[in-house]
């Protein structure tokens, strides 16, 4: 009896290990911003090819790269999505774990919208306004060229810029763990911060200080961290007419009957204006492929072919229908040929 039980246990354990050593589906991890696009491709791929549908986990860009760089082998992810470019430190981490060959694929662009309820007037702000309204410390309003910083004193948009409505500053946005927040800080806030001469000059002298001034969001309740769920922000905007929300373009696109995007530097967040690069708060989206897994895990080549096909990421492709802003034709062609040739990432 005892022997039988121990034999059964041993058998089932080896069974698990045996099953773990073979994987017939692609394992994708990474950014929650790329997730809605990658899942559409995966589903299409699963339905039209003889391969299984890839499994896609939404772990955030940083979390995804951490899993991706953990090592080579079936227990590790094959592809990671990222809403920012891979960092040098991450490439080194990958190399430390034996991952030397990574293929970089740029998917397209994503606009970050600053939106409010349709019931309220549309905003038209500059990036400098955004910085002044949301930064933790701003140049002293009494002597803005003095190089002195004070805790953000602005309570209403009108105080920030006389042309803006007399409404209390209230912005709902993602928490610091989010890639959207990183991009918002980098593109919108830093973009506005750079407009202030003496802060810009600081970039060369003290980069760390510069970054901390430009990227630190105020914590006195004017910027409200509303969680990673963009739908929730849209719902809150509907209920709270005086508030603005920060979220990705695809949510603006799907909820255009409820919320309107604010003009940033005079440009509205529309599909065309993000695509041609005139909307200032947009960022590229990427995914990274582990070359060592190509050929080992069935279907990676075909998945890449599906993702980089014109019917997916093209101007009229199904990803554009889901709110992805496609790259210009030339850029698409370049990345497509990189993918076909499995060209290595070169930072």
């Amino acid at each position: 009896m005892k022997k039988l039980i121990s034999a059964a246990v041993a058998l089932s354990l080896t069974g698990f290990v045996g099953m773990a050593s073979a994987r017939d589906y692609i394992n994708v991890v990474g950014s929650s911003t790329v997730y809605p696009f990658a899942t559409v491709v995966a589903e299409q791929f699963g339905k039209t090819s003889k391969f299984k549908t890839p499994k896609i986990e939404s772990t955030g860009s940083g979390g995804g790269l951490k899993l991706f760089c953990a090592g080579v082998g079936v227990e590790h992810a094959d592809i990671t999505n990222a809403s920012r470019r891979i960092k040098k430190s991450e490439v080194e981490r990958c190399a430390g774990n034996g991952i030397n060959d990574i293929i970089e694929v740029k998917v397209g662009y994503d606009g970050i919208a600053l939106a409010n309820s349709k019931a309220a007037p549309q905003f038209s702000v500059t990036r400098k306004d955004i910085f002044l309204a949301l930064a933790k410390e701003v140049p002293d309003p009494k002597a803005s060229e003095s190089g002195r910083l004070v805790a953000n004193p602005y309570q209403t948009w009108k105080e920030v810029n006389a042309s803006l409505p007399d409404m209390a500053i209230e912005v709902l946005g993602p928490p610091p763990t989010s890639g959207t927040r990183d991009a918002f800080a980098e593109l919108a806030m830093e973009g506005g911060c750079k407009k202030i001469g003496w802060i810009k000059a600081m970039k060369k002298k003290d980069k760390k200080m510069y970054k901390s001034i430009c990227h630190t969001v105020r914590e006195d309740g004017k910027y409200i961290e509303a969680g990673e769920n963009d739908n929730l922000i849209v719902q809150k905007l509907e209920a709270n007419k005086g508030a603005l929300g920060v979220f990705g373009y695809s949510f603006l696109d799907q909820n255009s009957d409820k919320v309107q995007g604010s003009l940033v530097d005079g440009v509205a967040p529309t599909f065309e204006l993000i695509a041609d690069g005139s909307y200032p708060v947009s960022r590229p989206l990427y995914f990274y492929v582990k070359k060592a897994h190509v050929g080992k895990i069935p279907g990676i080549n075909e998945y890449l072919a599906e993702f980089t096909s014109d019917k997916a990421w093209g101007d009229e492709g199904y990803l554009a229908d889901k709110g992805l802003i496609p790259m210009p034709t030339e850029e698409r062609k370049a990345f497509k040929s990189d993918v076909d040739g499995l060209k290595n990432l070169n930072l």
Binding site: A20, Y35, P36, A38, E43, K55, S58, D257, G323
Partner: protein, 433 residues
Amino acid sequence: MNKQQQQQHERSMSRVEKGLARRYRQERNFKRLGLGAILMGLLFVSFLFISIFANGYTAFQQTFVKLDVFYDPEVIAPVGETDPDVLSAGHYGGLVKATMRELFPSVTNRRDKKKLYGLISTGAAFQIRERVMQDPSVIGQRESIWVPADDDVDMLIKGHIDLSLPESDRRIKDDQLSWIQGMQEDGRVEKRFNTTFFAAGDSREPELSGIKGAAVGSFFTLLICLAISFPVGVAAAVYLEEVAPKNRWTDLIEVNINNLAAVPSIVFGLLGLAVFINFFGLPRSVPLVGGLVLALMTLPTIIIASRVALKSVPPSIREAALGVGASPMQTITHHVLPLALPGMLTGTIIGMAQALGETAPLLMIGMVAFIVDIPGGAMDPSAVLPVQIYLWADSPERAFVERTSAAIMVLLVFLISMNLLAVWLRKKFERRW
């Protein structure tokens, strides 16, 4: 009774009477407070149920469109072709588009055509492909079939799109509206029971998404969880209650079990990540790991419930069994355990219901993932019901709102029926001594 005593008695009586009204009032207020608490609870529960139901009941219906498809041999495969590889490679999307063009011959401009094709779900092409694969003899013939409409059309038919808004703010444009109305007049648009919702896995197209994948994933996860936590939990409870000596060590173990029952569930997820995935190398996102993690989480609940059940078996039963010569093991297996089993099962079912609704520990082990294929076993990647709800709640498409609520309703049905089963078991087998 002398006079003084009488006076004293009257004084105290008057004091009592003076306070009586106040005491009655306090009594009434006390009752009202309790009743108020119950009513408040009921109000919140009914508010929750009504809002979920109001949001979600429309998801059980789906809009379908009737198409007269010509199975064009030039697009699919020659008549008489039976090779599945050739059949599956046919350009079925083109077939749907051709049918739509036939229906609205006046649409010629490329942009308008795209809008026209957008009325039909991308699932239509797969449905037609399946039809042809099943019965290749339809090639070359014409047939009327009902295919799912796009989610935006579905939202329009269900009245979730406000037509008073300007065209640019609507997902359905004016010309699309006129096409839909044209089809409606022809009797080509119909709301039907949404079988896809119960038969499909996850999808990024709301009209093609379903909860079966998540339900099957939940089933495997709970199966693993039950297979581990029930025997281990009962064995631990029997040992602690019937066999173990009462000393400092068993006291310490008891305190720790009670502590474990109060540990936040995410901690078990972290433990599972460290032990099962990082150390034992089990794959992420599989029900096996999910079940193991949830088993750890439910173990304390089961042990505590089982110990209470064992405690409630009167000592006279044990003494009688031992007195007629049963061994301690026979006493436990023949008498104590069967009598305590209903209580143990009740505790187990409540623990399982808790596990069914758990999301946090599963986040850590990668069960929050987009999985289309329905899992075939405990080693296939899968999601579970609460995770599916979480994923849908985070999707941009409007049609996922109602599906989120519908999935909550399904989860609630499971939870309520499990709890009812527990109540029924208790009522049926409960014995008072």
